[in-house]
Every structure is written in structure tokens, then in C-alpha cells.
């Protein structure tokens, strides 16, 4: 994956991140990395563990939200940061992901939720692109 694959977009109250990926799997991976970078999650020393996630959804937008909710729950619910995230999406919309997770030391800016607000995964010649709004 080359170049910057995400950027922050102006939003008055919340956060919006525009993300790109060649495939749906890569889009999910970039979106997770972008979300973790944006909230400034910091790891601490401690034992790591492996985790796998399997999801299915009726459309790409729902799959993306469900996926990011999994990552968010690792932070908020288990106090762990997913690292080395690998995601594959196979037809029609089955997501299979693995990550290693390490203890969370802290977060600079918390995210309350991943929203569906104006969420559309668009396809162009370079792959897929979308803008995700987070409630913060």
C-alpha cells in the first residue's frame, strides 16, 4: 500500500476521516489504522494476544461500521490496541481479520461511536473511497 491513504476532513463537532483502499479488505484495514492514529491510542508493555474477527453484512457501509466497532470495542471494552491488522473481504461481504493486541496505556482523544452519517463507499478507477464520521 503506497502513499497517504487517509486524511482528516473538516467537521464542526465530530471527526471525519476520508480513507482509500484498493479493495474492501484494504479499505477496512486503512480505516482501522486511521481511527487508531486519530484517537492517539498508546500502548504499554505487557503480554500480547492474537485475535480473529469474522463479520458478514448486507452492504459495504454496514460491514465497515461493524468492523470499526470491533476495533473500538478492543480499546474501550478490553483496553487493548489492535496492531498488525490483516483484513480480507471475500464475496459477497464476508470479512475475516486477524490482529495482535497489546495493552492500552491511554488515548489522547476518545471516540464515542462510528456513525453511518452520509456514509457511502464509492468505487473509482483506483479502488474504493469513503468518508467516515465519528462521534467524539
Amino acid at each position: 500500500m503506497g502513499g497517504v491513504r487517509y486524511e482528516e476532513v473538516e467537521h464542526t463537532a465530530d471527526w471525519a476521516l476520508r480513507v482509500r483502499g484498493a479493495t474492501m479488505g484494504e479499505l477496512c484495514q486503512v480505516a482501522a489504522s486511521a481511527m487508531l492514529a486519530a484517537c492517539g491510542a498508546r500502548s504499554s508493555d505487557g503480554p500480547s494476544s492474537e485475535r480473529s474477527v469474522r463479520l458478514e453484512a448486507a452492504d459495504r457501509e454496514t460491514l465497515l461500521v461493524q468492523w470499526l466497532e470491533e476495533v473500538l470495542f478492543a480499546l474501550e471494552g478490553r483496553s487493548r490496541i489492535p496492531v498488525r491488522i490483516e483484513v480480507e473481504v471475500s464475496p459477497p461481504l464476508s470479512l475475516s481479520a486477524t490482529w495482535e493486541e497489546v495493552p492500552l496505556a491511554g488515548i489522547e482523544k476518545p471516540i464515542k461511536a462510528v456513525t453511518f452519517h452520509e456514509l457511502v463507499v464509492r468505487e473509482d478507477t483506483e479502488g474504493l473511497e469513503t468518508t467516515i464520521v465519528f462521534d467524539v
Binding site: 467537521h11 465530530d14 461500521v65 471494552g77 453511518f116 452520509e118 462521534d135 467524539v136
Partner: protein, 489 residues
């Protein structure tokens, strides 16, 4: 397919009175009711500056709406529904929309009044700020002082602040000075997901982060002597505001139902312009289930603020015991500003039962409302309007005007003007903290970038917002508060 929200322009607003504007249903063919905005010229320009009015137009397409969608002067762009919006849907088959209530269910404000004069307390304010920071756990995912068993969580869901009272976290008069006496009926813990339960159990009694805070203020000015006396507000005395909500528990409840409602709209043949506005009829299984879960989260938030009030009392006692005559904090009121409530309102000549969605808007019931404590009943409901960090906050009263024009609602704060991204780029947290300290506001914050995002200049002028709601008659001024210490996650 979701389309980018088209923004109304100034020429689309019809001025109804000096401080009230309307976007008529003719603006867009899918609007079911008009949008009514309370604002002066400058605040209209602010509202036109982001997507908030487009979002209000989207909200005006929800099935079962009555009368109009109200937009407050502190409005700003949110997700799906604008922050500072009010919409009422008719029972039994109007819809309920989780996104029109928000992720932080029953985010709200509690105000506690002291009899401690600022002049007497001033040397100890830094110590007080540190004590509040130590006693009120803040930050992301932080664990509270009241871990809950699964059974206790069910009780919190059903009983709210009453549970906290039974556990010794309340004093006489707290519950009656809380919206709905701190317990929303209709809560059903079986409507809560395992994941929400997991997030909720360790977080009770925590402040969280973002724009949540505990703030110590001085009563700066009083505009309504009788109401101020009834509230125990005296010029020059310290008060405490607690602003927080249902923490990860409420966030998870909303996330669960926004996701689960996605297929429901097709089932009920509902067309919406933005998927974040997903909804279901109030009398449908989905609608009933969400309401039951939302009530659980609302009760969790009432219990949360009750416990934080107890922690604030501990901090005050620790710092001032033996130094002032009375270290006590008396509850003025506790209000929600993100909630769906079943209420009766007069629509033209009929009394109609509706679900009032308030997202970034405060209930502001007028004089005579029986749910108020006797000392407020003749005056109207206290309304608490926190300003941005370092600026004034306000205590208001609900009025007959708020009942007639805005479903018994008014503004909830200053309202953001600058994006968080822009605030982070242009404001440094350490400099801001120094500026606030130089102004005499002691700051204890867990995150400096977080502090920068909440800088006063990222917000509208709260005094201007209050002038509009008072001028339009949807609230009456009681007192202005000036901050002296802020505690944030």
C-alpha cells in the same frame, strides 16, 4: 443511496419574528414539517456556515412528526440530526430514531450550590481543582469507584439515581431536583446487548473525556431574585457543574440500535435521506426495544451524575472542612440534553402524546409543571446551560413560550463554531491552559490536545445564545456563572 446534505441558504429562511426563522416545507419535497430556527442575524450566519440546517431539513422528513423541527441558537453540525435540534413524533406510530437522540444518551448537566463565598475560598481553589480531579475519575475507558455486578447493573438500568441514593450516594432533596426524579420509566435490561453490559459495568461514577467536565463557578450576576433564592444561588458564592452522560454504556446502546435499525426501515417502508437517521415506529418491536434500552442508558447517566455529585461533595469537604462554616453542596437541578421523552404537548388546540427527541437541547418546562419540586413549580423548570471552557455559564427557567414554541425545550450550551481539526491546528493545549490560568481559571486536564479542541474560541458566544432564547421567550434568565476551576478528562 445517501446523498450529501444540501444546505439551505439565507434566502431559504423566512423570518417569522425578530429571533425566529422558518424553512418551509416547500424547501424540499420530502419535508413533512417546517424547520424553525431561533437565532439573531449573527447566529443565523453561524448556522449557515456548516451542515446543521441541512441536517435539520433531513430530520424534518421523519415519519410521524408533528408541528415543526426546532433548531436552537447553539446549533451545530452533528451526524444525521443536528446538535441543538428538537423533533416530536406522534404516538403510537410515529418513529423513534436513536441517531436523533445521540450516542451519549442522557448526556446532561447537574448544578450544585454552595454557601461558600469565593472571596473566602479563593486561596484554596487550586487545591479544590486537584481534589475534584482526584475524586472524579476521568479519561477514556477509565474504571469508576463503583464497579457493578451484572445484577446491580440491572438495578441501575431500572432505578437510575434512586439506586445511587440507596447506596448512599445522595442526600435529601437530590432526587426531587432531578429531571424525572432521576428515573425514566420503561427501562428493560433485557434490551441491552452483552457488549453494552461489558462496557457499562466498570464505568459508573466516571466523568469520561471530550467535552465532559466538572467546573467550579462563582455566581456572577442574578437576573431573577425569586428564582435565584429558590435555587440557593447567591452572588459571589461557589457552585459546581457536572457535565457528563451514560459513558460507554450509552454509546454502545446507540451503536447497537443504529446498526440493528438499518434493515428495519425497509421493513416499515420508511425512506430517509441519511442512514444515521434510521428509525422505527414507536409501537413496533424494534421501536419498543430501543426505547427500553435508551431508558436503561438514561437511568445509568442519572446514577452516574449522582455518584459524581457525591464525589464532588467529598472533595469540597476535604478542602474546606474546618475552614468554612458549611462545606455542603445542595442540588439546584439536573437536566438531560440528549434524550427521547414521552410527553404531552398542545398542538394547536389538541393535546397530543409525542416522543420528543432532544439532541443537544434541554427540556425547559414552564411554570405549573407538576413534576417540578414545589419550590420551582410556580417559577418553571431550572435549565442549566454550560458555556465553553473558561467562559460564562447560565441558569435559566423554562417558560410558557418554550412550551408553546419549542416542545418545552431550549438551548443546551454555546455550540461549536470551529472544527476540532481546526482547533487542534490553531490552538496549543499548554498555551491555552496557561491563558486560562492567567484569567484565574484553574485547569486540571488529562489530555492537552483534548483541552485545545475544547478551547473557548472554538465555540459560539454563550451570552449571545442566551440573549436569543431569552429574547424569543423560550427561556428566562436567572443567573450568570463565571468559572474558576475546570476538571476535564
Amino acid at each position: 443511496m445517501t446523498l450529501k446534505t444540501p444546505r439551505p441558504q439565507k434566502q431559504d429562511l423566512v423570518r417569522q419574528s425578530p429571533l425566529m426563522w422558518e424553512i418551509p416545507v416547500s424547501f424540499r419535497s420530502d419535508m413533512r414539517v417546517p424547520v424553525r430556527l431561533f437565532a439573531d442575524e449573527a447566529l443565523v450566519e453561524d448556522a449557515l456556515g456548516d451542515a446543521s440546517l441541512g441536517q435539520a431539513v433531513n430530520a424534518a422528513t421523519l415519519p410521524g412528526l408533528v408541528s415543526h423541527v426546532t433548531v436552537m441558537p447553539d446549533v451545530h453540525q452533528g451526524y444525521g440530526f443536528p446538535i441543538g435540534g428538537v423533533a416530536a413524533t406522534r404516538l403510537p406510530d410515529g418513529v423513534i430514531s436513536p441517531g436523533a437522540i445521540g450516542y451519549d444518551i442522557n448526556c446532561g448537566v447537574r448544578l450544585l450550590a454552595s454557601r461558600i463565598a469565593y472571596g473566602e475560598a479563593e486561596p484554596r481553589i487550586p487545591e479544590l481543582a486537584s481534589a475534584l480531579y482526584a475524586h472524579c475519575p476521568s479519561g477514556v475507558g477509565v474504571k469508576g469507584s463503583v464497579p457493578l455486578s451484572s445484577k446491580d447493573l440491572d438495578k441501575v438500568c431500572r432505578e437510575g439515581a434512586r439506586w445511587a441514593e440507596q447506596k448512599g450516594f445522595a442526600q435529601a432533596g437530590d432526587l426531587e431536583a432531578t429531571e424525572e426524579e432521576g428515573t425514566i420509566s420503561g427501562a428493560e435490561p433485557s434490551a441491552i446487548s452483552p457488549r453494552a453490559r461489558e462496557r457499562g459495568r466498570p464505568q459508573l461514577g466516571t466523568l469520561g473525556a471530550g467535552n465532559h467536565f466538572v467546573e467550579v463557578d462563582v455566581v456572577d450576576q442574578v437576573f431573577h431574585d425569586e428564582a435565584a433564592t429558590a435555587m440557593g444561588l447567591e452572588v459571589g458564592n461557589l457552585v459546581v457543574q457536572i457535565h457528563c452522560g451514560s459513558r460507554g454504556f450509552g454509546h454502545q446502546v446507540c451503536s447497537d440500535y443504529v446498526r440493528e435499525f438499518q434493515p428495519a426501515i425497509a421493513r416499515y417502508g420508511i425512506q430517509i435521506p441519511d442512514r444515521e437517521l434510521v428509525c422505527a415506529p414507536l409501537d413496533s418491536p424494534e421501536g419498543k426495544s430501543y426505547f427500553a434500552a435508551m431508558a436503561c442508558a438514561a437511568n445509568y447517566a442519572f446514577a452516574n451524575r449522582q455518584i459524581l455529585a457525591d464525589h464532588a461533595r467529598t472533595a469540597f469537604d476535604e478542602v474546606f472542612r474546618g475552614r468554612v462554616r458549611d462545606t455542603g453542596l445542595t442540588q439546584v437541578y439536573d437536566i438531560a440534553h440528549n434524550m427521547g421523552k414521552i410527553e404531552e404537548h398542545k398542538i394547536e388546540s389538541d393535546t397530543v402524546r409525542v416522543c420528543v427527541h432532544r439532541k443537544g437541547a434541554t427540556r425547559a418546562f414552564g411554570p405549573g409543571f407538576e413534576g417540578l419540586p414545589p419550590r420551582y413549580r410556580r417559577l418553571g423548570q431550572p435549565v442549566l446551560v454550560p458555556g465553553s471552557m473558561g467562559t460564562a455559564s447560565w441558569v435559566l427557567l423554562g417558560t410558557e413560550g418554550s412550551m408553546a414554541l419549542a416542545f418545552g425545550s431550549t438551548c443546551h450550551g454555546a455550540g461549536r463554531r470551529m472544527s476540532r481539526h481546526q482547533a487542534k491546528r490553531s490552538i496549543r493545549g499548554d498555551r491555552l491552559r496557561q491563558e486560562l490560568e492567567d484569567q484565574g481559571v484553574r485547569v486540571r486536564a488529562g489530555s492537552l490536545p483534548g483541552l485545545a479542541e475544547e478551547a473557548p474560541r472554538a465555540y459560539k458566544d454563550v451570552d449571545a445564545v442566551v440573549e436569543v432564547v431569552a429574547g424569543a421567550g423560550i427561556a428566562a434568565k436567572v443567573a450568570r456563572l463565571r468559572p474558576v476551576a475546570v476538571v476535564k478528562g
